[in-house]
């Protein structure tokens, strides 16, 4: 009698455990790997702070589930990022991976997530191959396609009637994407195109070349510490007097404005977001970020914040059930959330379709400098040039 009861209760327990698949998860785990040290650490730190702020404002939850965010530092090294991804995916069994700043680091580590059926949501790097022929259903870009800011800058240069431009970018995927994007829209003459080493900080040789080429405009893509050093050395070499500097938002946001200082005043740059956007979601974001971290958020922070809000909306729509990757993917693709940039939707390749704006660095009224945007977008409802090559529909 007792043995039979025991056997039935064991069977009952086993059946209950097996049926557990249909029950909602008890928390959502996110692996966050980013560059948190070195000259470009400000970028990773801002994405992280924006992401964690969103989680905090949602009561420590995403989509109603308590959120556990595992943050680690890739030290600007692709092999370290790969190991961290592997640890998060295999040992910590995260539901989502996110956070990487640089395209080369992300491309190296991405297979660890995608090959193991873990969705990666990019809050920054979004290389052109992954928008086109290498597109993957488990990869979402919540920031922008890599080429976009530069396509916007090329269009702005056209509108301004700028004739000759010298181009400079680091020699890695995002650098190549950037100058390809600028050349796609710009109609004037390219008087020079130079690629530097990723992570290079001394630009004396390149500046001498630029001086000799005598361009009307210099367009650079140098994110993080690279841009800070370049602009300082550009000013130090006296080149600002004859050459106009045109920038993507990556080299003209608060992380560059603060160390470079007054030399940044009046510079034009392009971005998908600006701290002065008046939509309610952004006003709340900027106010809360300044209150929590005592600094103005950069576009990187806005991307981290939006990434968390995207996950929040998707998990909410899934009612907390994260066991089916295909369902999660659909939820992310169709998620409706109030992005701090205003209108946002995914293209068929899971890259954003959105507006891009021109900004200029002006006075913040308190003795410092901040970006101010022009209300009319320079590129409206803009996708990317690679979506046709992606088989996803």
């Amino acid at each position: 009698m007792i043995e039979s009861l025991q056997r039935k209760s064991i069977i009952a327990v086993v059946v209950a455990l097996l049926a557990g698949g249909a029950v909602a998860a008890d928390k959502v785990k996110i692996g966050f790997v980013s560059t948190l040290s070195g000259p470009s650490s400000a970028l990773g730190i801002d994405i992280r702070d924006g992401f964690l702020l969103a989680v905090q404002l949602n009561g420590g939850k995403l989509g109603g589930l308590p959120a556990e965010v595992l943050v680690s530092d890739d030290q600007f090294k692709p092999d370290v990022a790969r190991q961290l991804f592997e640890k998060n995916v295999k040992r910590d069994k995260v539901d989502f991976m996110t956070g990487v700043v640089f395209s080369n680091i992300m491309l190296a580590a991405l297979p660890e997530a995608l090959d193991n059926q873990v969705i990666y949501i990019s809050a920054n790097a979004a290389p052109s191959p992954m928008a086109g022929k290498d597109c993957n259903p488990l990869f979402f870009a919540v920031s922008w396609p890599n080429d976009a800011y530069h396509e916007a800058a090329g269009e702005f240069a056209n509108q301004r009637g700028l004739k000759s431009v010298y181009l400079l970018a680091p020699n890695y995927q995002a650098g190549k994407d950037s100058l390809a994007g600028f050349k796609r829209t710009f109609k004037g003459e390219i008087v020079g195109e130079n690629y530097t080493k990723l992570g290079q900080l001394d630009y004396a040789a390149e500046l001498a070349e630029i001086r000799a080429a005598k361009p009307q405009v210099l367009y650079i893509f140098l994110p993080g510490g690279m841009g800070i050093n370049f602009i300082k050395q550009f000013v130090g070499a006296g080149l600002g007097r004859e050459i106009t500097l045109l920038l993507p938002g990556f080299s003209a946001d608060q992380d560059v404005i603060n160390p470079v200082g007054p030399a940044m005043a009046g510079l034009f740059n392009t971005a998908h977001w600006s701290p002065d956007f008046s939509n309610p979601a952004n006003q709340k974001f900027v106010a809360e970020f300044e209150k929590e971290y005592h600094r103005v958020p950069t576009l990187y922070a806005s991307q981290g914040y939006d990434a968390a809000q995207l996950i929040n909306a998707a998990v909410r729509d899934l009612k907390g059930k994260l066991d089916n990757v295909e369902a999660t993917r659909k939820a992310l693709k169709n998620a409706r959330f109030d992005s701090v940039r205003g209108a946002f939707r995914f293209n068929t390749n899971q890259y954003p379709i959105q507006n891009y704006y021109v900004r200029t660095v002006g006075s913040d009224g308190k003795g410092g400098l901040i970006n101010k945007s022009f209300s009319e977008p320079i590129l409206k409802d803009h996708g990317d040039a690679y979506v046709q090559q992606c088989p996803m529909k």
Binding site: K176, E206, A208, V235
Partner: protein, 305 residues
């Protein structure tokens, strides 16, 4: 290619070469006088940069930062020599390589624990702008200061080594250590002094280059390799050799970064030209070192008897 361009690149190459010289001079002295391969020399450069950044941050002045950094690094070098490295002189080169390599790893993590992974170091604001050397040639004031300090120290080292008693002891020790000891030279104190001078030179380079490059963990490793190449080309123990070697390497590196891509861009796409130029320059430096080793194995200015 205009004369202004060539002049500007020459100045850039010279500036880079002089900073390399500061590291190579210390390295060649230590190798020459104490017969010790010091792989941790690049780490002394890193420690010098961190200490300069720390003192500059604490005092608010770049100059105090640089001077403080140099003094503290010299002290650190002396302490390191007396405590740890002294036991390595009598051992074979492989043991020295292993021990000083371990020192690199220890210093990397030690500095990270004390100061963090990087520290900001900004040049004094007065030097942020350009100086008009010639009509049409505006050169950054800060780099001119680096050139001046580099030249000044090269001159100072020359006077020290050629005209002072300490310098004579150093030359004697580099030329024939056993005989110098037999002649009554206080070898132990001499060695500590040489090591401290080497560390101080590293700190000057670290502090001066800090605003241009970044003060971060691991900053010494790339520059260390070039320093070794320079002392092999110049001759172990020879300051003159270190200067000539450093200027040559600085020139080749700058040529590689600018003139070579210029030429290559005629028939290669820009991304390839930009990547190939520095790579070819690197190859050129090592090929040059190999040629020197074949033709003059003791280096261009050998001092060993």
């Amino acid at each position: 290619m205009s004369p202004i361009f060539i002049l500007e690149q020459a100045l850039n190459g010279l500036q880079f070469g002089l900073m390399l010289f500061l590291l190579a001079a210390g390295l060649t002295l230590i190798f020459g006088v104490m017969d010790m391969i010091n792989l941790a020399h690049g780490s002394l450069y890193m420690v010098g940069a961190f200490l300069s950044a720390w003192v500059a941050g604490a005092t608010g002045s770049f100059l105090y930062g640089l001077l403080g950094g140099v003094a503290l690094t010299a002290l650190f070098g002396a302490v390191l020599e007396v405590s740890l490295l002294r036991s390595l002189y009598t051992r074979d080169h492989l043991s020295q390589v292993l021990a000083t390599f371990a020192l690199i790893l220890i210093l990397n993590d030690g500095v990270k624990m004390i100061f963090g992974t990087d520290l900001p170091l900004a040049a004094p604001a007065a030097l942020d702008g350009p100086v008009e050397l010639l009509p049409g040639l505006l050169y950054p004031a800060y780099r001119l200061v680096i050139l001046a300090v580099g030249f000044g120290l090269a001159l100072l080292l020359y006077l020290l080594v050629q005209r002072t008693r300490l310098g004579a002891l150093v030359r004697a020790g580099a030329s024939n250590r056993e005989m110098s000891g037999a002649m009554g030279v206080n070898v132990a104190r001499l060695f500590t002094g040489v090591f401290a001078i080497g560390a101080a030179l590293c700190a000057v380079a670290g502090g001066l280059l800090g605003p241009l490059l970044a003060v971060q963990i691991g900053m010494g490793e790339n520059i260390l390799i070039l320093a070794f190449v320079i002392i092999v080309i110049g001759g172990i123990g020879s300051i003159r050799g270190a200067l000539v070697g450093a200027i040559l390497v600085g020139a080749v590196d700058t040529l590689g970064r600018t003139l070579l891509p210029h030429l290559l861009r005629e028939f290669l796409p820009p991304q390839w030209a930009s990547a190939a130029g520095p790579a070819l320059a690197s190859i050129a430096v090592y090929v040059f070192m190999a040629v020197v080793l074949v033709l003059k194995p003791q280096g261009l200015f050998p001092v060993r008897s």
